[in-house]
Symmetry: D2
Subunit: 390 residues, 4 copies
């Protein structure tokens, strides 16, 4: 149970690139990082509009001289300070993740980066090499995997409680782009422009969450081949997709189905994860993250509740509010940021033993997400045909 | 609102082939047909074991001499009687649907047949021709489409309340075959034997329900191409499938996803239908048939309730219990059987005008189900590749 | 499992008083009784408007000469026939239950009567005496207690699975009278007129369902004292109530809470039953009758599903559709009517052993409902103070 | 929408009394207060065991010399510092709320106190006078009322969307004390000892949440009379109660029902609030705080979702995560603590205009909770009879 006691000592000196006033994701980073005083926000280049960014930073309590116009300025200045930031979060449109991350690492600063990490696996490989050379952490904010019951599922799979895994059904399908938003602001439209969003829209924006969470629950499973059928129902979004179905064949014979869309009119964005084994199934949704359905064929369905003593230790260790009270996405982000802080502190003290056993969405998790996207696009571009997973 | 007043005059003289004591489907036929005295059960060949069948028939109130050992006997004898049965329901394993239906029609008896109707479209075409020549009805028991809210969805689509249809998501996924049942009785195993079940297991057994209901809601939509990926997780069921995913491209650009499985451990069999349009979505499940979710993007989700005056007339007309009380699958079957009775009476009085405007799952509905199965199998057999819909 | 095989031999010759075209309850009687051919509708005095009643009866398939203008005519005529009705259902406004029931019994006809049975316990006692003298059955249509999972709860309580019973929470709260209906037709208004409805409105109309079902689940519990606070939010209904709360102290120290109202705006009428014991609780709602929540403190909540082999035999025996498919209120009524038919047949063959062990809502169940109402009214009339239960 | 921009300037210098390692409530205070850097934890007397408290404080990042053994030490020392704490939260057992609050106010320190505030209304009145004399704020952590949809309900009521309020149904019923815990640690047992808990157990511990939230939604409603029936199912808790039902008559004729218990075996603690008006009802549960059911009689039920533009401005202003993502209890506490911080800053600048229009659970809210408890106990002690509300 997490009660706010620090496991990482002094708060990490922290900065942000992006995450300004008009976006929503910035608050998730801040509320996740600053929970329990694990990070202290000291610097930022929050906005492309330098004045806006400075004003916003001031309101966040950042000293005026540490509100920068650009990430380059931030790096140049903070690198010179004895009390410069140790870690910077990158909450910008996808296209700039790679260049900002590279610059930060080159300056010796740890990075927390939004997903999808970069545009290509090649970029991921290069950044991994750079991070290793520099001895730095790159954390990736797959923000839903901090929920305790995600790790309950993983522990149950690991203990064999589901038997052999047969079916994986994944869904993240909201309706917030059901209308034609070709006249919307750039803050909205960057996601549907290949130059700023990369080779995908919803596959990268929300599909990577599904894929990563399935990896956390099923670390042993490997995709052998995959088929991706994607489409844009709003013409201005082409060639990117606002709907995609992905079928996956796994090496053990399991079958996967994944659905992402942002034109699912009327739906507020519920994710749904169902893992079916030869003995039992589990099902979880981020919309009601405190409950997990555990279903053994021929027995009553069991509804597991967060924070209860009957859960696996891995799940209980992540609980913040206790069984009587609800957790939200902010609690999940707090766990993600805590794991990254623990990784940074371990890296700083060169504690490879700790790092080897430490759960944390890092550069490899980010890379696998990009690899999955590359395979999806390759299939989609080949008339939605099956492709070997590479 | 249906209150038991007869719309079909005198009860139809009715017989059954199959549907004996050990199966469950027989009771659904009887409870559907005999509701409101629309049909009177007078004859049957209920069981392959003639003595069992006779004993069972007696318990159902059928006169001993009209409990037959075989369907051939039934036809031979009933055809001779002035008060012989007018209509017979076929509730036998799939392989015998065709021969029994043909024999009944040749003897001038209307037919109600289980789905999937026959093994091939060619058989369907032949039977349709025969039925037309004889002036007889072939009804097909797609038992879920009698629920009032199914017709609410259809009416809403027809009125344009969903806008252009974009996405269709269909699911019927239970877990009752999660275990290896290769040692089970023939009453269970016939479904997984191609000789008795035909070219499919779950696609035909439960997938045809999904497909037909989607046709009822979306009569205008036509499939252009389709991909079916199927698999059996229990070896003894091969080459038939206990899991399949079907992707469909419709002529209007809509995309469909369909999932059937009987190894979904722990699930009691919930069907889920979601139809997404450019303006709104509707979602319905047979597990809670009294409720329909109507979701306009940007507005609160609306939960429509059966029997309420705000529903479309098409839906209200089918209600039996009133808004205050629940309906079950038996009420849906009662509507199906009522429609078939109305069709038979109209056919008997040669009322083509009535028939032209009458909703009833008949030979065409049965044929389209078989056509869809043929396309699924063709795709599956071609390594789950896309096939043009023919 | 019920599959339509007759357990009561030849169909009972059956008539109805009331239950005409404009009411809704008549259909519930007919669909419950005629399921499985247990009863055959042969006579009726369906409507105060004799012509309407005759027209309706004809449409139900009743011979014209057996569609009567009044119940007196029905009794006089049917008593003379060799094939006269054996049992008559009374589906009229409350005020006439007593006189019609008495007249039927005096004529040697079994009775099925709506609830609340009569206006006073004294009337119940008198009728019980008359029925015993005549050797006749009086069944009472507490229509919700035919659901299989109600008997699952009873069996679990009997086996001690809940431990000592501590808390009983009962609720039947719909909104269909939220508006002022003082201008409505007599078909609606009779329920709020003491002359036609008796000493209560919602307490009798819906509260007796809650009370009787709790008796079925907890046959051992006896009320020691009770407090009833009632009110009418629509003036024209006074002195009858459209809202009432009843608190109950049981002899074993348990505490009960019961809420009935028909001004619960927007609610379609969900009943909720929760029984809390020292070890575990169960909760069931008629809105989703196929599921039962079984909750052991400190363990995952279990969702029990109708028709599954893990249920108690008492519950499985009542199942009609099987676990894969839904049941509705009609299936529950069918079980109620079946129990009454079994009681009538046993009475006809003087099988006291069978009757002693037979579950069936009879004259005693009806009496206890009226007794509970009398106590409620006595408390309500004493400024909602506690009264000893008598 | 709250995005972390400071509305209260510099973080408040903050201390805690109680809320140590073994309790759960301390973390709720810290995660609520420290969100967005509104408060900075600088001092504490966290535990009766001074060494434990010091160790814990260190782990929270509090300087060693500001981890005190007692609240008296904390006050004495912090009062002397130029940078001493401005506000202290009291998260101790109920019996010490009054003396600690009084001592803090006398030392010129603002207070945030747990509920139930004090043992008697007289104490509340005295403290209110003291706080006014000193110009200090006393905030009360009714932690559930920070959820945005609570304020949606209040806004809807204020706009007349429900019509005249008729029925109020409140429930907070968990099972965590279903077992006999007379052997438990003092950390558990203090709640059932009148010396430490005061005149109530569950009425004060959880019932005050229900009552206060109903006041937020229905500020105009006043109780005229009340009846409270309470009981302890575990003997060692007597004379305090682990179950109580309260009936309330309001001045406008509305009727209220409230249920609290901690022996509701198997229930994880769901609160349920239903407010029924002459036009419509609303229903909300803390277990799924992102959804609100809005039910107009005769129309489809509407499910309102947090963060959506169709909500009232009062609700949207409190949203932190946006419609696509879930909020939890921590987000609600963050709003509560933010309101208190805003009140303190306004008090510091003597901004009575701001304070007059500012929503914040303060001394009056705390007093009304205690008043309600006094009335409940008075009724319960008078054999659960009706008492005039005083």
């Amino acid at each position: 149970m997490i009660n706010g006691e620090k496991t990482t000592g002094q708060a990490l000196r922290w900065g942000m690139v992006g995450g300004g006033r008009t976006g929503q994701v910035g608050y998730k980073h801040r509320t996740g990082a600053q929970r329990d005083g694990t990070y202290q926000l000291l610097a930022g280049a929050f906005d492309l509009d330098a004045e806006q960014g400075r004003d916003f930073g001031r309101n966040l309590g950042v000293a005026e001289e540490r509100c920068y116009a650009t990430y380059q300025e931030l790096i140049a200045s903070e690198s010179q300070r004895a009390d410069g930031v140790e870690v910077v979060s990158v909450a910008t449109p996808n296209f700039s993740h790679y260049e900002i991350t590279r610059a930060l690492l080159q300056a010796g600063i740890h990075v927390v980066c939004e997903k999808p990490l970069f545009f290509t696996v090649a970029e991921c490989v290069e950044i991994k090499k750079l991070a290793e050379e520099k001895g730095l952490i790159v954390g990736v904010t797959y923000g839903f995997t901090g929920h305790p019951l995600v790790h309950q599922m993983a522990a149950m799979v690991a203990k064999g409680m589901l038997g052999d895994i047969r079916l994986i059904d994944l869904q993240y399908t909201h309706g917030f782009n059901a209308g034609d938003d070709s006249d919307a602001s750039e803050a909205v439209k960057w996601r549907t422009n290949p130059k700023t969003s990369g080779p995908t829209f919803v596959l990268g924006d929300i599909g990577t969450h599904l894929y990563y969470l399935s990896e956390v629950v099923l670390p042993e499973l490997k995709i052998e081949k995959l088929l991706c059928d994607r489409k844009s129902f709003i013409a201005s979004r082409e060639p990117l997709e606002d709907h995609a179905t992905v079928l996956m064949h796994y090496h053990n014979g399991a079958r996967g189905r994944l659905w992402v869309t942002s034109v699912n009119a009327g739906n507020m964005g519920s994710q749904r994860y169902r893992f079916v084994g030869s003995k039992a199934s589990v099902e979880w949704s981020d919309a009601h993250p405190d409950q997990l359905s555990y279903e053994i064929q021929g027995e009553p369905i069991r509804i597991l509740h967060h924070g209860m003593p009957y859960l696996e230790a891995e799940s209980l260790a992540l609980d913040r509010m206790g069984a009587l009270h609800t957790e939200g996405l902010g609690d999940s982000w707090a766990n993600i940021y805590l794991w990254i802080a623990q990784a940074i502190r371990a890296q700083q003290r060169a504690d490879q033993v700790f790092l080897a056993g430490h759960h944390c969405p890092g550069i490899d998790a980010g890379t696998e997400g990009v690899r999955w996207l590359e395979n999806c696009v390759r299939s989609a571009d080949a008339d939605a045909s099956w492709v070997e997973y590479t």
